[in-house]
């Protein structure tokens, strides 16, 4: 038996898209093991298969080769248990539903209350700081607020694993920076059933990866494979002041050089 049961473990994962004119190799022999409760960022040049990786982990896409295990089970089993929360770059809210009704949507898909205690949607709204906007509609909210709703929606089943695909990619720089700390606060304030949620966070911002993560995985350009895997040993809670300290800047510098070397 393994000493640590990893929450997410990928071995020899490859994916080739065959629906285009010529086969497109997106991922090649990716191996990764993430322990429970770790905040891991995946970073790499655009088109390196970061989103593909996330969709495979979330069970939305079957890999061409290799295995994915989530706490020892295939992703579909974790999906069935509603243990995966997805946040995409586009908040993808339903525009005809109010903020509260959007957060309730997952509960309408499956009435899981009988199996485990679920967070109250109103409390989730409070958690993301939108209590005053419960009856608003998405088009009445700013981009940052919409993304907060999407985060609250992903938390509806209190999943143990959060998969975030460039969730702040469409936001302006100031909102984006605030949302990073906001997400960290939510992550720390809202643990899953077994401690902190495991987060797999795809981004193309080096700063963002360092600010948020315990660990940063750098992918090579297409087909993506793991180029580097470094631990970010900065104390938590992370603060904006930390972004000006030497260790932080060293991490950023180091990662930037790694990405520069990656052939585009």
């Amino acid at each position: 038996m393994a000493a640590v049961l990893h929450h997410v473990s990928l071995s020899n994962l490859s994916h080739v898209f065959r629906d285009g004119r010529s086969p497109l190799s997106a991922l090649e022999a990716v191996g990764l093991a993430v322990p429970p409760g770790q905040f891991t960022s995946v970073i790499g040049p655009s088109g390196c298969g970061k989103s593909t990786l996330l969709r495979i982990v979330g069970g939305l896409l079957k890999p061409s080769a290799g295995t994915v295990l989530l706490s020892g089970r295939p992703p579909q089993a974790a999906q069935r248990e509603r243990e995966i929360g997805f946040v995409f770059q586009d908040p993808a809210l339903l525009p005809w539903r109010s903020v509260l009704a959007n957060i309730r949507l997952p509960l309408e898909i499956d009435h899981l209350e009988r199996r485990r205690r679920l967070p109250d949607p109103e409390q989730l709204l409070d958690l993301v700081g939108l209590s005053d906007f419960r009856d608003y509609y998405p088009h009445q909210l700013s981009g940052g607020m919409q993304q907060r709703v999407a985060i609250a929606r992903a938390l509806a089943f209190n999943p143990a694993l959060l998969l975030m695909d460039e969730p702040f990619g469409a936001l302006d720089e100031i909102t984006r920076s605030a949302m990073r700390y906001e997400l960290l606060r939510i992550w720390e304030a809202h643990p899953g059933p077994a401690g902190r949620k495991t987060v797999l966070f795809v981004t193309h911002s080096i700063q963002e990866a360092v600010v948020m993560s315990d660990r940063v995985v750098v992918l090579t350009s297409r087909p993506g494979s793991v180029r580097a895997d470094i631990d970010i040993e900065l104390p938590r809670p992370r603060t904006e002041e930390m972004e000006r300290t030497q260790p932080f800047l060293d991490y950023v510098y180091y990662l930037r050089n790694l990405l520069k070397e990656a052939p585009l």
Binding site: L60, R80, D90, A92, W96
Partner: protein, 259 residues
């Protein structure tokens, strides 16, 4: 009280003024050039004919509207049902879509007499012709609407293992609403045309019959009054559908951008 009044002044007055102006010019033209009433009647004569027996025009118009509405419901129901199947299966689309195109390209005036022979008099042939005319635009719009869903929302629902049925009701149907309303704005007038044409051929009731016999008798004021009632019916339907649209699609860009 100021808001609605201003909206009225902004939206209703300009087209109403344009209409009145056009009618005045028409009247003036007929009077000055001394155009024969057998060719074009002056609006005043048309109005006179209408107000001689308004009940007659409303009753016949009511028949036409009734048949058109039934036809619209029938055609839309079949179109939406097929669109649901076709949006979920490419095989069904490949099989059925060419048939739908045949229905669309066959000229109605050629089919209407056949249908009358086939179905006899009464309501049925008119309803069927109206349904045939309103079928295709509804099919096309519904198909596009059921498919035009936010890909992120679709992925999110799939990550929750939502069933196709749940995806359909929670995502596809609301996403299709703007398309369905646009389709209705197109197909309701088409259904009216269908009912009128069928009435020509069956000749038992409705504005189609009124138009047909007035034409035969060179009774142009009656002819134009019937056309006027048809036009007013069409306009009312459009206004009604626009109101529904504004209420139902408050969240959609098409409505929000006009606020």
């Amino acid at each position: 009280m100021k808001g609605p009044l201003r909206a009225f002044a902004a939206h209703v007055l300009p087209p109403a003024a344009a209409l009145v102006l056009a009618l005045l010019m028409w009247e003036a033209w007929v009077q000055w050039r001394d155009v024969s009433i057998l060719v074009v009647p002056p609006p005043s004569a048309v109005a006179e004919r209408f107000f001689e027996r308004p009940g007659f025009f409303w009753r016949e118009g009511g028949w036409t509207l009734y048949e058109a509405t039934l036809g619209l419901l029938l055609g839309s129901a079949v179109a939406i049902g097929l669109a649901v199947v076709m949006a979920h299966s490419t095989l069904a689309e490949r099989t059925l879509f060419p048939l739908a195109i045949i229905v669309k390209v066959t000229p109605l005036v050629a089919v209407a007499p056949v249908l009358v022979i086939l179905l006899g008099f009464g309501t049925t042939p008119k309803v069927v012709v109206a349904a045939l005319l309103s079928f295709f635009p509804m099919l096309l719009n519904a198909m596009t609407g059921f498919r035009d869903v936010n890909p992120g929302a679709l992925q999110f629902l799939r990550s929750l293992r939502a069933s196709p049925w749940q995806v359909f009701w929670k995502l596809r149907v609301p996403s299709a609403q703007p398309y369905l309303l646009v389709a209705l704005k197109i197909t309701y007038p088409l259904a009216l045309i269908g009912a009128v044409v069928a009435e020509w051929f069956t000749g038992d009731r409705g504005l189609g019959l009124v138009i047909f016999s007035a034409n035969y008798n060179l009774d142009t004021p009656t002819l134009f009054a019937a056309i006027g009632v048809l036009a007013m019916t069409g306009v009312s339907i459009n206004v009604l559908l626009s109101l529904v649209e504004r209420r139902l699609l408050f969240w959609h860009e098409s409505v929000r951008s006009t606020r």
